[in-house]
Amino acid sequence: MDTKGYNLEQLKSFYTVMYRMRRFEEEVFEFYKKGMMPGLAHLYMGEEAVAAGVCAALNEDDFIGSTHRGHGHLVARGADINKMMAEILGKKDGYSKGKGGSMHIMAMDKGILGANGIVGGEIPIATGAAYTAKYLGTNQVAVSFFGDGASNEGTFHESINMASAWSLPVIYVIENNLYGISVDIRDVTNVENLADRAIGYGIPGVVVDGMDVLAVHREAEKAVKRARNGGGPTIIECKTYRWQGHHVGDPGEYRARRNENEKAEWMARCPVENLRKVMLAEYMSEDEVLAMEATVEEEIQNAVKFAIDSPYPDVSEAYTDVFVE
């Protein structure tokens, strides 16, 4: 990990965000194991560097579009983890009063256009936010996060073509974790780098190590700058990996098909652990790191308690919010 150009505050901030994501999801997983969580959740664990690196390159008023695997993006954008956790449990104090759940957390106050249960569904929506920014001349940018699998949906193609034709300020971040559920991207797509598709739209496409938060951040900064300057969209493909199966409860055994050590090899490159090591080696004492972690831990415990304590919504809520006034 090349820390050149980053100061300690920045590194601490990256670490805190990634650690928060990790701990948040460990607790989500616990809820699942204890049978306290309705439905399922798709954990982002292992991919933290992507959301952390990209979101650090954004301004407060920028937009992001997220996916079924959205907790990481939301935490990185600074969403309220109490409301997130309550939503994941289907509680009244969740972001959507329990109506959305893990796959549909939305937080417009943080420019989060929504997680989305339709693979590829949010790509044009984020692109539309970039249209607004261009139309209103606000200097905002939009980021669309999505997976390798989503890059094979038609909306990927249609959105990027329009964004390029009209130089919209949007960054397409492909989180290539090699799989769409059990399907290996290498079995359903014949290019090594999905970023190569950028050529067909006349825009820059870059591949980056998605386990290295600084590498991700550097590329994101370039793309964001280009977008803000009217240079149009960029595809950033982050090579990454998820620690868990597709969702809680999926053992993810399909990943041993090609290489039985695949998971172990990727886990050895843990983005959270690695940044921790770098910080310990070069900048901070173990105690200092533990202190940072303790602060996060307290937030997490609060969120867990908040979610548990929140009541379920009243049945009548099922019928509200279909329309706004």
Binding site: K99, M106, I118, G128, A129, T132, S159, M162
Partner: protein, 326 residues
């Protein structure tokens, strides 16, 4: 009062709303230089420029989804889909996304987007360009569904649609675009959810949508000559549905016929039949009836197409049969 083409009434509504609110932005295929396939946006590109009257590539799912993103972030997009059949290409973005985001967010956000699109047969456009998609979208929650009849209705309802904070599906009838209508000089906003009794009558209630309102009026005139008095209700919006007006009318007439051009199976006629059943059952003098397009793909040849589309004659025949069934 003045004379106007239906398509020009649409254009006026767009123009006036764009003048009023610069967050109103149009997107669609060929709406710019060409002024729209049916010329409903003629002159707007010249007046408002490329970014506000945006010619899109042929990417319906993409630009409808883009519209949702625009609506979430402060604009009020009005999207033209060249034929309502193409709603199917964008169906996920319309139904699973635009229509559900408000609810899924627990009411945090709104999606003030209008999708305008033509329905109907009659032009020998065959199976993929002649459908009427109002029943399909009405089946799903989260969208308002508008089916204007005359030019006046189209203008007033479109202006309301553009000011509504929810996704609105606005269905124009392609056979009306070049028809002339009389309209008021200044058009008021026409509220959603309030049906319009366009003709009073005592023997039967005909609830109709879009072009079928005009056809029902023609049928009602012919029926009058036979001593049958038909009340004709222009439904205006399917969602929200003005149940009360229908129920009240049927209580008076004792008979109900619903005429809508979408496919009959699981169509608007079926819905209204089931919807008001509880309230009118004990007043009915004949079974509730409906006329829609029968469930076959729309054929190309005019020799086959015209006979299957709802027509004045079909309405007339059905009413006679219902009234005689005592």
């Amino acid at each position: 009062m003045r004379e106007i083409l239906y398509r020009d009434a649409i254009r006026e509504a767009l123009d006036e709303e764009m003048e009023r609110d610069d967050r109103v932005v149009l997107l669609g295929e060929d709406i710019g230089w060409l002024g729209g396939n049916f010329k409903t946006t003629a002159g707007l590109y010249e007046k408002y420029g490329d970014l506000r009257v945006k010619d899109t590539p042929i990417s319906e799912a993409g630009f409808v989804g883009m519209g949702t993103g625009m609506a979430l972030t402060g604009l009020r997009p009005v999207i033209e889909l060249m034929f309502s059949d193409f709603l199917l290409v964008a169906a996920d973005q319309v139904i699973n996304n635009a229509a559900k985001i408000t609810y899924m967010s627990g009411g945090q956000v709104s999606v003030p987007m209008v999708i305008r699109t033509p329905i109907g047969g009659g032009r020998s456009s065959a199976a993929q360009h002649s459908q009427s998609m109002q029943a399909m979208v009405s089946h799903f929650p989260g969208m308002k569904v508008v089916v204007p009849s005359t030019a006046q209705e189209a203008k007033g309802l479109l202006k309301t649609a553009i000011r509504d904070n929810n996704p609105v599906l606005f269905f124009e009838h392609k056979m009306e675009y070049t028809n002339k209508f009389l309209i008021d000089d200044e058009i008021e906003l026409i509220p959603f959810g309030k049906a319009n009794i366009v003709r009073e009558g005592t023997d039967i209630t005909i609830v109709a949508t879009s072009s079928q309102v005009m056809k029902s009026m023609d049928a009602a005139k012919k029926l009058e000559a036979e001593g049958i008095s038909a009340e004709v209700i222009d439904l205006r919006t399917i969602i929200p549905l003005d149940r009360d007006s229908i129920i009240e009318s049927v209580k008076k007439t004792g008979r109900l016929l619903i005429v809508d051009e979408a496919y009959e199976f699981c169509g608007i006629g079926a819905e209204i039949c089931a919807n008001v059943m509880d309230d009118v059952f004990y007043y009915l003098e004949a079974p509730i009836a409906r006329i829609g397009t029968p469930n076959v793909p729309i054929p190309f040849s005019p020799a086959l197409e015209f006979p299957i589309i709802p027509s004045v004659q079909k309405i007339y025949d059905k009413v006679k049969a219902l009234v005689e069934q005592r």
